[in-house]
Symmetry: C2
Subunit: 314 residues, 2 copies
Amino acid sequence: MSEQHRKYGILGTGALGGFYGAKLQKAGFDVHFLLKSDYEHVSQHGLIVESKDGDFTLPQVNAYNDVAKMPKCDVVVVALKTTQNHLLPQLLPPVVKDGGVVLLLQNGLGVEEEIAQILHKVHVIGGLCFLCSNKVGSGHIRHLDYGHITLGEYIPKYSSAGITERIQQIAEDFQSAGIGMELAEDLLLARWKKLVWNIPYNGLSVILNASTDELMTDNHTRTLVEQIMYEVKAGAMSMGRMIPDSFIQTMLDYTIKMTPYRPSMKIDYDERRPLEVEAILGNPLVKAQAAGVNLPQISFLYHQLKFIDARNQK
Amino acid sequence: MSEQHRKYGILGTGALGGFYGAKLQKAGFDVHFLLKSDYEHVSQHGLIVESKDGDFTLPQVNAYNDVAKMPKCDVVVVALKTTQNHLLPQLLPPVVKDGGVVLLLQNGLGVEEEIAQILHKVHVIGGLCFLCSNKVGSGHIRHLDYGHITLGEYIPKYSSAGITERIQQIAEDFQSAGIGMELAEDLLLARWKKLVWNIPYNGLSVILNASTDELMTDNHTRTLVEQIMYEVKAGAMSMGRMIPDSFIQTMLDYTIKMTPYRPSMKIDYDERRPLEVEAILGNPLVKAQAAGVNLPQISFLYHQLKFIDARNQK
């Protein structure tokens, strides 16, 4: 597949999928968007992106409300929340070419493995997005900050795949659309590293109704954040991946210097959407447990979040 | 000291001290009440007790707003919240007879030891109250349920003191006032056993804004309650005290059958009073830690509560 011909499908045209998909189309790629509630509006009016890197509109996009109507794509970007992943066995098969790529732009752990079990003739690539963006209206996305993606290819048992030609090609497409890209030799290590930030800040911000700066200002919550980060390190170690202490220190320092931030799980909670508890905390716990390693404080946070999430959905 | 002559001082005439003190005075004991905000009102109008065991009023009581004006007492009942315990080095010495008793009707762990370090010529007795009562106005107490007390004598290093004559005498006084009494051979074991209930329900009800029945209905929080109870058992074990698993099971079953209940720490939180985090969670953690035992989930809850408490006091 050459850059000119690569066809992109976007499953989930929200703050994340809408943003990256629009950037790709603007750069000249052939992009096909799956939508649900915004389908009618986007069919008629296209997409609007307000971005710190420059606003733009796409008055016309290929919009669909049914995967059966979509063309087979070379790269299908899964940009749904992981809480929607039970839909993937239905959504993916009609829309991915044989030999094509499923690119999972999702949080957490373990989803590539699930995809590889559903689809046997595709390549699965994981992408970790560092993006701050919101959907502010139908087909209307506001990109606030960051935006770069780390890509890593999945191979069975999460063995380290190295920098494959496939992730290089996709990274080139995204880069040509103005998106910063990094490549990871080891997708599993990259995912555990992202959990170092995601587990403590997502979890504690919901349970304690606190923003990142509040969590870092108070000595007690700062202690909790750090203790959880070390449990994530132990979780990674249980799967043979080494996260250096210096990385933890960098994450702490970085968050202290960051603008006060509402993590995605806190936004989901405030909007009364289901929380990504299983992908972000549950799956890492299961993996570590399977290797005989207990993570008692992450487990505690997990159960607290499950309670809070269930009550929030009532 | 004989029953006829035993003089009681009550430090803290609220929902707990006011209730037990009023019961003792009604039974004929010479009782002296220390008050703060309710001093003027109670001096003039006495105490009103509404109780499921029968309402009564005491139109006249010995009320004080200064320990210097109180007589020396045979038994000084400390009925303050533990968050006020920094006041005890000033409050206690003027009001306890040499050879008298300080009776600590407080939650948590470790306070008897602190008292014994302040006062050398007194006996220290710990009392664990199972009382559901509220102060509904100045000098006006509403007793809702329960009310019995478990007494145990403190001797250095929390060695088991057995059933001493001293706790028997005090238990007789309280019993003659209609208060159910139990005697504990081992105060430390009794305190750890009470923590089996107090740590999970007090802590989780505040952090998750939930009542006991909500915590027991949801499988995730029920799991947390049980895991915390087993950590309390490990804490007790670190100090050489054995809590049987059957006791934990009894506490779980008992709470499921109980009327939905708002634990005292939750009431304090809702009333924006300081929380007894140090006595109920902090001191047990310190004791276990000193014996080389980590209690990671109680530690997690402790830090969450410290954060929540500080924000609640702002």
